[in-house]
Amino acid sequence: MARIAGVNIPAAKPLHIALRYIYGIGPTNALEICERVGVTATKRVNQLTESEVLRIREDIDKNYKVEGDLRREVAMNIKRLMDLGCYRGLRHRKGLPVRGQRTHTNARTRKGKAKPIAGKKIATKK
């Protein structure tokens, strides 16, 4: 078990998989890190030496924005749009899709679980 970039404790997985448990590091970045630090990507995390872990930690600190900082940046970007009063900001405020997707149907990821329309059932019964 190794603690990298704050709270993340990736498991007994290959290094390039384990690194992806860090918010902000995906497949590409994980492989980049492995290469730059000079550790075989498929080496298990629990087989890493102390110095390797240290080098990985330094590499991430130096080259990537991860976890809290990244989350804050994303939130700030969204907040900027919302304060600006532009179309994208309005969509964020309303919790609707931002990039021009249809909302007649679908869009459930943004809209959340479907809400029943009040009184609709009664109307169909009559």
Partner: protein
């Protein structure tokens, strides 16, 4: 996909002239524009534009944050008319009661 950098930002030419004229006059008046597709440039900051939304000219006072956005983004063309939820509920209960 974003626009190629070598093309520069897209702006309808007459906006530049209008903006310059507005800068010259001390009175801060609304510049009516139809060109929703134009990018907001740094030289527009501080001016107020009336962006046409197909119906009215909506006042947009340009701030520094808006640079790089298009004018159209600040003048919505559709307005969502919702039923006020509270009113509807009252109506419903009254309706079923009678």
């Amino acid at each position: 996909m974003s626009r190629s950098v070598w093309k520069g930002p897209f702006v309808d030419g007459y906006l530049l002239k209008k903006a310059e004229k507005a800068r010259g006059s001390t009175r801060n008046e609304i510049i009516k524009i139809w060109s929703r597709r134009s990018t907001i440039l740094p030289q527009f900051v501080g001016l107020t534009f009336g962006v046409y939304n197909g119906n009215k000219f909506l006042p947009v006072s340009v701030t520094e944050n808006m640079i790089g956005h298009k004018f159209g983004e600040f003048a919505p063309t559709r307005f969502f008319k919702a039923h006020s939820v509270a009113d509807k509920k009252v109506e419903k209960t009254e309706g079923t009661g009678s």
